[in-house]
Every structure is written in structure tokens, then in C-alpha cells.
Subunit: 178 residues, 4 copies
């Protein structure tokens, strides 16, 4: 069994790196004037959105592990599973930005978000399963309406991406805000 | 509430990564002789400047949190806000270097610096607000003339970039020195 | 002599970075539709495989050092040796993915895996040598059949890569599962 | 004043990132056969050399700070100065490898190594100055013949690079071994 601090430090490291390398997808424009900067604009906004998302996950991650002292193998792999989906965020962020929030990249972005949310739910369940139904965390999580609403929003956004991608992008912002 | 050590470790990680990936913007020159190296020269100096800036922020960041024990949600997001603007430093550094300190990139560099400085001020206020006006930090910060002078310098530098960018660059060096 | 926590933190950092920069090898496709995504497909699976491998190593690494309190110079360099081979994982992962699991990249992937496994065995021996044959770890490791089986599989997979690379890739998945 | 653990963690982070992003300079060859791999060969060896160098620095860095409890502003900046020169290692490693150990890149590599060694000496002096001449560290460092020999070797190697770069590269290996 591993101490929680270790798992947290590792997860912090991965999220810190993800948040930082995302900015590498902001490819430098060719020219040196303000007009050249406009080509970076969509990627910039995709970056802002993903930065906020990863910030939220980092924040939630800590609340989740706040009451945990030791982690089992199951929790460890549930956590790696979550990090796996989050590690794809820079890729989908860059792809979405570079294609000006086109349908397919927007849908893929939603898919990665959906898988992250599911991975988070699995991790949460694994921790609660270990601590018992009556634990502090189980109470705090409760029926977790926000979590379930997020899942629904992501599924909606993936479908909507092929109809009107702006509606889909608006949904991502909406989830981040709640 | 999060322990400060965690927030510090995360911020340290982000700044360490930023300082290191900046060097990736030093694109390897085509040829293998010293003449080829000359094309990297402006980016090198932009790199030195940004390295010093991030070093200063890292240093100040620690002094800021030295007396803080727990962080609230507000402080946490004020800190992420600061990291967001700093994460743009490698991008603007590379763009400024690649365009030989041209007007627009120099102005953008100043904008990112200005936003970082503002984000730092917000973070400082959030911490003082939490600790009370009579706290140690509130006293240490005092009227913070250096901070205010920096803000003025950045605004000046952004404007000057379109008149004479060297004057503007000189201002950045000046702020780093004080 | 170094405290183990330091060596662990450093190794954690390196593995966290490796797992994250691997995703940078997922080069963004040119187009913005789902068809364009197909070109990334093989690299994606190579990435999944390597992510699981590095996850396993990270997990094992902790179990290995769980009972160690101080590390000697020998252990330190054995650990750096292991990290060296693992640092090549993103490179071979990207090369294998980009060439659709062709013979040579698949063999090279196996070579890096083999060298990592050997480096791990050396590290294990260095720790046992220091702690004594009767130590807890020596008992836990025992005859380490899984470890030896892995080595055999990697050698087989390297040879098989030039006959039928899919058989070779299947072997990598098999080792990861056990 | 900053606790040493913080400065060490930050330095560890930077070195861990440097050692890892160096591998990004191993550009994937175009083809998928073993012949294509030959183009990566020189960069690979440059990478091995730099990996060992950074490993040595990381190791020495810890011995240096082993007896230090608090760091002053001077030590902090001396440390950042050292990290600055080390952050250039991936760049010069890649340039040297890509140009098959040509004269100019080999000389530049030596220059970065020389500056790192000088920065290390400055850091050492800053720590001793703070702890007093009779301190444990001052005794351990003694006349530091190895350190001085390294400096001489680097200067020699920079000059030799323009005469016979292989002799120069041999010197780098020699310094790493001692």
C-alpha cells in the first residue's frame, strides 16, 4: 500500500506538466505583427478552457484524497486511468483550436472530457468502496448532482458538435462554470 | 481547505516546467557553424530575460506564502490565475525572440508581464484579506511602491513598443533589476 | 547517503514527465475531420501501451523502495540507469506508432523494454545486496518468475518483430497484463 | 529565508525535466527501418553524455545541500544561475548531435559545461561563505582538485574543438568519468 502523499505528488506533477505543455500547442505565428496573432486566437481560447478544466480537476482531486490515508492497488489504477484521459487534453485542445472549433475536434474534446468525468466517478467510487458507505466522503459526495449533470452535458455536447459546434462549446463553458 | 505546502509544490512544479520548456523555443539553427548560431541570439536574450523574471516570481511567491498555513478556494484560484499568465511567458518569449524584438511581440510580452503583475497583486490582496489588515504580510507589503512602479512601467512599455521597441525592452530589464 | 524520499521524488518527477510528454508524439493531424484522426490511431495505441508500462514501473518502483531508508551511490546510479532506458520510451513509442508497428520500430521498442527490465533487475539486486539476503525484499522478490518471464518475452518479441510484428506486439500486451 | 527542502525540490524538478525533455531532441527518423535509425545515432550518444552529466550534477547538488538548513537570497540566486546554464544543455546536446559533433557545436557544448562548472563553484563558495570556513562542507570540498581539473579540461576542450573535435569529445567523456 502506498501513502496518499505519494500518489498526490505524482498526480500533481502530471497535472502541472499537462497544464504547462498545453501552451506548447500555441504554435508561434509566422509574422511578427498583431495580425499574425489572430491565427493563434482560437487555440488561445481552447487553452483557457482546458486550463480552467484541469484547474478544477486538480482542486477536486485534492478534496477527494483529503480524507484518504492509504491507497490500494485499485485506487492507484483508477487514478492512473483518470490521468490517462487528462493527458489527452493538450492534444484535443490543440486540435480543436487549430481547426477553429470545427465539428469533429469539438466532439473529440467532449469525448475526452466525458471519459475524464467517468474516470473521476470510478475513482470516487473506488475510494468510497474502500472507506465504507457511511464515510465522510460518501456523505459529502451524496447524490452528486453536479457530477451527473456534467456527464449528461458532455454526451449532449458530443452530439451537438455535429449540428452546431458553438452550442457544443457553450456547453463546455457552462460545465466549467458550475 | 488545502495545506499551503501542496499549493506551493504545485506552483513550484509549474514554474520549474515553464522555466525549462522555454528553452525548447530556442530552435536549433540549420547549419553547424558559429554563424548559424547568430539566428538564435535574440531568442537567447529573450530567454535570459524571462528566466530572470520567472526566478523573481518564484522567489516572491515563497515569501508570500511563507506565513500562510491554509489556503481558501479564493486564494487557490487567484494562484491559478497567476500561473495562467505565467504559462504564456514561453510563448511570448519565443515570439519576441524570433521576431528580433519587433513592436507587436514586445508589446504582447509587456501585456503578459502586466497581467502577471496584476494577478500577483490580486493574490497578495486575497491572502491579506484572509489574514487581516494587521497581519505580518500586510505590514511587509506596506504601500508596495515597487509593485506599483512595475505596473506603470509595463503599461509604459506596451505603449512604447510601437514607438521604439528598444526603449520598451530596456524598461523590462529595468523592472527585473529593481 | 541520500534519503530515499528524495530519490523517489526525483524518479516520480521523471516518470510523470515521461508519461506526459509521450502525448506530444501524438502529432496533430492536418485536417479537422474524423478521417484525419485515423492517421493518429496507431500512435494512440502505442501511447496506451507505453502509458500502462510506465504506470506499472512507477507502481513497482514504489514497492521496491518501500522498505529502503537510505540509498547508497550504487543504488542511485542503478536507479538513474533505469530512468535512462525509460526516458527512451516516448521516442520508441512515437517511432513505432508513426510507422504503424513496422518491424524495426517494434524490435527497437522491445529492446528498450528489455533494457528497462534488465536495469530494474540490477536495481533490485543492488538494493537486496545492501539489505542482506534475508531481508524482507529478498523474500518478497523470491525467484521472481514474472520478472524472468518478462525478459524471455522481450527477447522473443525482438526476434519475432522481423517475422511477424503483430505477434511481437501481442507479446508486449501480454507482458503488461501479467 | 527559504527552507532548503524547497530549493532542493525546485532544483530536482528542473533537472528531472531537463533530463527528460532532452530526449525530445531525438527527432524521429523519416523511414521505419533500421537504416533510418542511423541518423539518430550521433544525437543518441550526445544524449547519453548529457544524461550522465546531469545525473552527476544532481548527485553533487544533494551532497552540497546535505548540510545546509536555510538558504539566503545569495545562495538562491547562485542556484538559479547554475540551473540557467544547465537548462541550455538540451539545446547544445541536440545541436551537437544533429551536426555529428562538428567543431562549433562541440565548442559551444564545452562552453555551457564550463559555465555550469563555474556556476557550481560560485554556489559552493556562497554556501561555504555562509557556513564559515571551518564548516563541514569547507573541509569536504578542500582544495577541490577534481573541480579545478574539470575547469581546465573544459577550456582545453573548447579550444581543441576547432582543431580536432573528437579529442574534444574524448575530454568531455574523461571529465564525466572522473
Amino acid at each position: 500500500m502506498m501513502r496518499t502523499t505519494r500518489l498526490e505528488a505524482f498526480s500533481d506533477g502530471v497535472i502541472a506538466i499537462l497544464i504547462t505543455i498545453m501552451v506548447l500547442e500555441l504554435r508561434m505565428p509566422e509574422g511578427g505583427d498583431l495580425a499574425a496573432l489572430r491565427t493563434v486566437w482560437p487555440t488561445f481560447w481552447a487553452y483557457v478552457l482546458s486550463f480552467v478544466y484541469l484547474g478544477i480537476y486538480w482542486n477536486n482531486h485534492h478534496h477527494l484524497f483529503h480524507v484518504v490515508e492509504h491507497v490500494s492497488g485499485g485506487i492507484l489504477w483508477a487514478n492512473l486511468h483518470l490521468l490517462f484521459w487528462q493527458s489527452l487534453v493538450p492534444f484535443v485542445t490543440g486540435w480543436m483550436g487549430q481547426n477553429h472549433f470545427a465539428a469533429a475536434p469539438t466532439a473529440l474534446y467532449g469525448l475526452v472530457m466525458l471519459m475524464s468525468a467517468i474516470a473521476y466517478t470510478i475513482l470516487q467510487s473506488a475510494i468510497i468502496a474502500r472507506q465504507g458507505r457511511n464515510s465522510l466522503l460518501a456523505g459529502a459526495v451524496g447524490r452528486d448532482r453536479k457530477g451527473k449533470l456534467s456527464l449528461v452535458c458532455y454526451v449532449l455536447a458530443i452530439g451537438l458538435a455535429f449540428v452546431d459546434q458553438w452550442l457544443s462549446d457553450a456547453l463546455y463553458v457552462f460545465v466549467a462554470v458550475i
